[in-house]
Amino acid sequence: MELVQIQRRLVDYTKSLFMEGFLDAQFLQLQQLQDDSNPYFVFEVVSLFFEDSEKLLNELTIALDQPNVDFKKIDSHVHQLKGSSSSIGAQRVKNACIAFRNYCDVQNIEGCLTCLQQVKQECYLVKNKFETLFRLEQQIMASGGSVPTIELGF
């Protein structure tokens, strides 16, 4: 496909991610930090996020399986996850974490389990989205072009 077309696809795709609420303005900030001295900044951060989140989600699953659920620990894990997701701008993950924390506060195990599922789901979704995004970026870079910056007016 032509370079311009791929670039346009990338722009549209990114815009759609914003529209659907997967990403928020923080992601734009992240993109701004990427420059020539740091060309893979976004990729690195996002990858780190997914490693982190996988670990955290495993911990959470184990913790919720226990007969005596340690809500403090769960709270701190979810807090971490929330912090990470908000740092990269993964809005839906962050929102799911917030809901999770609420159930944790009232010590509602059923609610927590449901929320855990939701968080996993959101992480999975946003991971796919990011993979697509990075693939497009790679294609652009491979064709010798530059990744277009997104100007979003909201």
């Binding site: 900030q29 701004q32 930090l33 740092s87």
Partner: protein, 740 residues
């Protein structure tokens, strides 16, 4: 000739008796023969005789009878046998026919009789119908009279004419001797004779209203016959023979709420007037039912006509009143316009005239300041300068305000740089704030558009005014200015029920909050703040130099910008927050070249990069640590990352200028670290600045941070611009607390 076998007559034929019998028989026969002839003749004449064959029978019977009697004539003398046989035949036939006829008559005579009864019945009916016809005719007459009377009464709207006409027409129709109308007086306790038919000038007799007869008449809506000796009926001089019958009927005076006609007595509900009608004396006339009905109907009509007349009079008066008022209002308006024009002329002149000497005073005083002065002289000059500046401001304010009130002020809309406005305000206010040792921080939300469409000058003036007030009324502490785009729910929360923001695509609402830690305001005084010239006396701020107009002008500017401004304060000594919301248009990204007067944004930020600035970042969360590191690297800092408090304490050195700590992680005791770092670096200039990063908007936390000795607090998420401005502020003021 053989003689018959009949018995010899006893008497000889020449006997007198015989002769008479002979003659009678003859005449009987004659009569008998003539009757059927008559019958036939008359039946032929009449067309409707239904019993012809009966007639025939009768005729036959009579003829035969006659024949019998005729033949009898021959039997007086000696007669032959033939005569006898003819006689016998005749007799036999006669007998037969007469028997048949007799039988027939039994059937016919009842019929004939009933004809007679029917005739009688019809006659009665006819008489009855005649009577009824008479009645209907009378009623129709009455109806005609009523219509004519009503027509006469309702053809005019003048009260007097109505009443006069009523009496006249009634008198004429019913041929009355006297007809009078008694109206209730103003007090309602008496009836006054108001109108009479014959007497030209009613002398104003009054009769008390609580008379049993009068009560009886008022309690029924029928016309009531009253005694001629009743006080209301004693209208004629005594001495007549036999007073005619008198009838009285009530006339309801319909109640209307605004009934204020001059000579009309004051009316209330259920008041009645009394109409008295007298038949002529000496006549034997009686009041007929239809006449009474006529009187009742007329009374009702009169009531309606009177009320119409009253309404008309009332509305005419109201219309006249309105016209007068109209004229007066017109005059007042013209006077007001003249006054406004005079004032505007005055202001225009005064504006120029006043500014010229002011300008001279200010300019020369400031020049004087530059020269060599003794301390006392300097003090005096400074006072002169301050006072004249104040005066200049006051002049400007007064002029502005009067133009604002006129509505002649219009906003100067244009595209401008919003960030630049805030920077300007900050730059203008910093000198004063630093003299008072107040810290001013500015936070602009990341989603705030850079460019907007609105009146830049007045927006700046408003914000400057509010910030100036905040600085003015704070003796110590800090002032924080935050600006962000107001979302719909915060808009609705703005405590102004009339403020109905309308969101559309091209506009946004800018919300600016200025929080100070100054002397605060008593919540009861808050409503007065925005009224001009009403200064808050009680807090002893009189010497702070406010003219009392500033906030009033701000409010008017804000209203012009379709926004809202208000102040919140928890009380004296607790500081206050001024919040303003204004509507601005969204601007397209404008070329810098279009705005020649706007300084370029980066230069206003202070430094764009902090080359080599050593910074320590402590964050347990790997991802956010990386993001923060990326931010700071982008700004050119030299970043050291640590993941725990021990590491932080180990690695921190006096080379690090700033330490960013994420304090919202439950495991980290950020206050502990703060204290330990304070202990480590006793000398202030060696110690790095400690800044807390938190996503938590907890005021308590913020206070704890301040108390623990932190130099700053920033809310996550931190954008690039925010980090830049935070670092700039931090390095300049050594303190930065973001408004929560």
């Amino acid at each position: 000739m053989e003689s018959c076998n009949c018995i010899e007559p006893q008497w000889p034929p020449d006997d007198l008796l015989m002769k008479y019998q002979y003659i009678s028989d003859f005449f009987i026969a004659l009569a008998y023969f003539s009757i059927p002839l008559e019958l036939i003749y008359f039946v032929k004449k009449s067309a409707v005789f239904p019993y012809r064959w009966v007639l025939v029978q009768f005729g036959a019977f009579i003829v035969l009878c006659g024949a019998t009697h005729l033949i009898n004539l021959w039997t007086f003398t000696v007669h032959s046998r033939t005569v006898a046989s003819v006689m016998t035949t005749a007799k036999v036939l006669t007998a037969a026919v007469s028997c048949i006829t007799a039988l027939m008559l039994v059937h016919i005579i009842p019929d004939l009789l009933s004809v007679k009864t029917r005739e009688l019945f019809l006659k009665n009916k006819a008489a009855e119908l005649d009577r009824e016809m008479g009645l209907i005719r009378t009623q129709e007459e009455t109806g005609r009279h009523v219509r004519m009377l009503t027509h006469e009464i309702r053809s005019t709207l003048d009260r007097h004419t109505i009443l006069k006409t009523t009496l006249v027409e009634l008198g004429r129709t019913l041929a009355l001797e006297e007809c009078a109308l008694w109206m209730p007086t103003r007090t309602g306790l008496e009836l006054q004779l108001s109108y009479t038919l014959r007497q030209q000038n009613p002398v104003g007799y009054t009769v008390p209203i609580h008379h049993p007869v009068i009560n009886q008449v008022f309690s029924s809506n029928r016309a009531v016959k009253i005694s001629p000796n009743c006080p209301v009926a004693r209208l004629r001089p005594a001495g007549k023979y036999m007073p005619g019958e008198v009838v009285a009927v009530r006339v309801p005076l319909l109640h209307l709420s605004n009934f204020h006609i001059n000579d009309w007595p004051e009316l209330s509900t259920k008041r009645y007037a009394l109409m008295v009608l007298m038949l002529p004396s000496d006549s034997a006339r009686q009041w007929h039912v239809h006449e009474l009905e006529l009187v009742e109907v007329v009374a009702d009509q009169v009531a309606v006509a009177l009320s119409h007349a009253a309404i008309l009079e009332e509305s005419m008066r109201a219309r006249d009143l309105l016209m007068e008022q109209n004229v007066a209002l017109d005059l007042a308006r013209r006077e007001a316009e003249t006054a406004i024009r005079a004032r505007n002329d005055f202001l225009a002149v005064m504006n120029h005239e006043m500014r010229t000497p002011m300008h001279a005073i200010i300019a020369l005083s400031s020049l004087l300041q530059e020269t060599e002065l003794t301390p006392e002289q300097r003090l005096m000059v400074e006072t002169i300068l301050k006072s004249s500046n104040l005066l200049a401001t006051l002049i400007n304010d007064v002029l502005d305000l009067s133009r604002l009130e006129d509505g002649s002020l219009q906003l100067d809309l244009g595209t401008f740089n919003l960030y630049a406005v805030f920077r300007e305000v900050l730059n203008l206010i910093k000198p004063i704030a630093s003299v008072k040792k107040l810290h001013v921080s500015l936070t602009l939300a990341p989603d705030l558009p850079e460019y907007a469409i609105g009146d830049e000058k007045r927006l700046m003036q408003t914000i400057l005014n509010i910030v100036g007030n905040a600085v003015k009324f704070s003796k110590e502490g800090s002032i924080s200015i935050t600006a962000f785009v107001a979302k719909l729910d915060t808009l609705r929360d703005s405590k102004a029920p009339e403020f109905l923001p309308v969101l559309s695509d091209n506009i946004f609402y800018l919300r600016v909050q200025v929080k100070d830690s100054g002397s605060g305001i008593n919540p009861l005084d808050i409503p007065k703040l925005f009224t001009k010239f009403a200064q808050n006396q009680s807090t002893g701020t009189r010497n702070s130099g406010g003219s009392g107009l500033g906030l009033a002008i701000c409010k008017r500017f804000v209203n012009l910008m379709e926004g809202h401004i208000w102040i919140e304060s928890e009380g004296l000594g607790k500081g206050c927050t001024a919040i303003l919301i204004v509507k601005l248009g969204m601007a397209e990204r404008v070329n810098e070249s279009k705005l020649p007067y706007m300084p370029k944004m980066p230069t206003n930020h202070g430094q764009t990069a902090f080359p080599g600035l050593k910074v320590l970042v402590m964050d347990e969360n790997g991802v956010s640590r990386m993001v923060t590191k990326g931010l700071l690297l982008h700004l050119g800092c030299d970043v050291t990352m640590v993941g725990s408090s021990d590491e932080c304490l180990r690695l921190v050195s006096h080379e690090h200028k700033v330490v960013f700590m994420d304090i919202c992680v439950p495991g980290i005791d950020s206050y502990g670290i703060t204290i330990r770092i304070h202990e480590k670096f006793t000398k202030r200039h060696e110690r790095p600045l400690l800044v807390a990063l938190t996503g938590n908007t907890d005021k308590v936390k913020k206070e704890n941070c301040m108390r623990a000795g932190m130099d700053g607090l920033i809310l996550k998420p931190v954008s690039l611009d925010k980090m830049r401005s935070v670092l700039t502020d931090l390095l300049e003021h050594r303190v930065f607390f973001e408004a929560i």
